[in-house]
Symmetry: C2
Subunit: 344 residues, 2 copies
């Protein structure tokens, strides 16, 4: 599957500029600069108003650069000072995780409320998360639509609470000495990249190719034949199992999502050209992850004590709907990935 | 779509024997004989033990011949005595409906219990409807699997009750004077078919072609482009709407199912060759109808007062699962129908 190796005929070879350790240093410097810029923007915008545009954009830019620095440390590990790299990586993982939670809860809630409105045959009143779920059902919608409205209100309460907590945690993190140590390290990285001696002239291609190979191997191990058969009903197997945590069957797909991101970022170091198919495949796997977590949130909400049967019913429909989104995302990935394998 | 008209190049023209009113008379006589044979078998086997093999087969054979006689009366109406035909048709519809209910409730329950087991990641213990839903959940399956078991027990109670009532109604019907009048009419039909004078030498093809045209037109009006896109999520729109009755969006598909059956039976009058693609398309629409009604039964069960939230949740998952089966059946029909249109 997708044997798109970095051979001379590959578009990657048509890159402008060097593909040596210098290119890696350039990339890390620019990502570090990006990080510092986003951090300044975050501080300037106050960073306290949850949901306001400025800090949201700044937080996204922070996460964006942290992910890329972290990925480069992983993929090009042999070219970087080992002690420096090994001490920085867990800190970046902590930062990325902490900064991502608020956004994750927010978009999960939006996805679930959108789905509830779609399943009720209603149009979502406005973009974004808002009072939609609280709006009274239309007079001719008694019974189960009350369930949908109650389910929406329950999810809104639970996920807004989680989101608010994540916001506080992120703010605390950004004010912590642990964060300041990371920021200092990245400030140094913006001017001085700790390459090992042999790295300056070293060819980056073998390490980038290894990242791609890890992706190809993991993708080939996915049940793509099943995924390519529409309506295979695989994603909802265990849909009624007692464990509301993400399904074990999703894990290999989440892993491919991470490997695809590592490959994409490694590619960014080598070339400025964007592979649209990689982006599309990544979006399929993002959708897979989002639907998987939304389904788990609906199942979790259904375990809230003393909810009405109509609320529980709506959450059941919602859970199954999101599990089918999981299946749909796998199908879309399979279609995209197959195309990739054929065209290269 | 599917312009498979009865032209000279059509396999239909290669039929053996006449395709005139005589062929229609032969067909009706043989179906009437089949009816009488099934009726005798039903009486010999007692006909009282619900679920026993003999009467089930006999009832199926009865329904089978009633459907075919009824369809012929419809498609070839101009060739048959109008008064006779008009008085018999509603009686056949009543009989077909009454005899079909027991089987419908039984297979609906089996479909729903199978789905519940699939959704719990469990293997259905044995073929057929039975104590499966009552079996205690495995010790490591607490929480929502209790919900699945309770949902199964609730559906079992409701649909078994409905099935038992349908059985009694069918038995009463078979003992009624109304039924005896129908049986007498069909007994006469087994030897004497009331063709109009002009029918004996009349060509059956135009009337059969008209039946096919009605099918083609109705199929062409279906949203087949949407259905051909996997995971279009159309079938679950209104999945949370308050009305648990079958969705209005299903009606045109049910209509095509009936028209396809009329076409298939008209074809039987003209040729003994079986069109496998027609059979497959019909099976897709049977599956569509079954899933649609199973989804409605799950939604209906969820409106039972005082059920536990876990039961309601399981019924919600089940409802959504069956609505996705509806969508899957539409996709399968679209694939089959498109093939038909291309290959002819």
């Amino acid at each position: 599957m997708a044997q798109q190796h970095l051979e001379p005929t590959d578009p990657l070879s048509g890159h402008v500029g060097p593909s040596t350790g210098d290119a890696l240093a350039d990339y890390l410097r620019s990502q570090a600069t990006e990080f510092l810029r986003a951090l300044r923007q975050h501080r300037d915008s106050g960073g306290t108003a949850a949901g306001a545009e400025g800090p949201v954009d700044a937080a996204r830019a922070l996460r964006r650069s942290v992910r890329r620095i972290s990925a480069s440390l992983h993929t090009f590990r042999p070219l970087l000072d080992a002690d420096w790299s090994e001490s920085l990586r867990p800190e970046l993982a902590w930062l990325s995780g902490t900064l991502g939670m608020e956004h994750a809860y927010g978009s999960r809630l939006e996805r679930l409320l959108l789905a509830l409105h779609r399943l009720s045959g209603a149009v979502f009143p406005a973009q974004g998360v808002g009072p939609a779920a609280h709006s009274a059902p239309a007079p001719d919608r008694a019974g189960l639509t009350v369930g949908a409205a109650k389910a929406g209100a329950l999810l809104d309460r639970q996920l807004t609470l989680a989101r608010t907590r994540a916001h506080s945690t992120a703010l605390q993190a950004l004010g912590s000495s642990r964060f300041h140590a990371v920021a200092d390290t990245i400030a140094v990285l913006a001017s001085e990249v700790p390459l090992v001696k042999s790295a300056t002239g070293a060819d980056l291609h073998p390490l980038a190719a290894a990242a791609q190979e890890r992706l190809d191997d993991a993708a080939a191990a996915l049940p793509l034949v099943t995924a390519g058969h529409p309506y295979n009903a695989e994603a909802l197997v265990h849909g009624l199992s007692p464990d509301p945590s993400p399904h074990p069957q999703d894990a290999p797909w989440h892993q491919v999502r991470l490997l695809l991101r590592l490959h994409r970022y490694a590619r960014e170091v080598l070339t400025s050209s964007v592979d649209v198919r990689l982006l599309t495949a990544g979006q399929c796997l993002d959708r897979h992850r989002d639907a998987s977590e939304a389904a788990a949130a609906a199942a979790q909400a259904a375990r809230t004590p003393r909810i009405a049967p109509a609320t529980a019913y709506a959450l059941g429909v919602l859970h199954a709907d999101q599990r089918h989104e999981v299946e749909a995302a796998r199908f879309a990935f399979q279609q995209c990935w197959q195309k990739q394998a054929v065209s290269t």
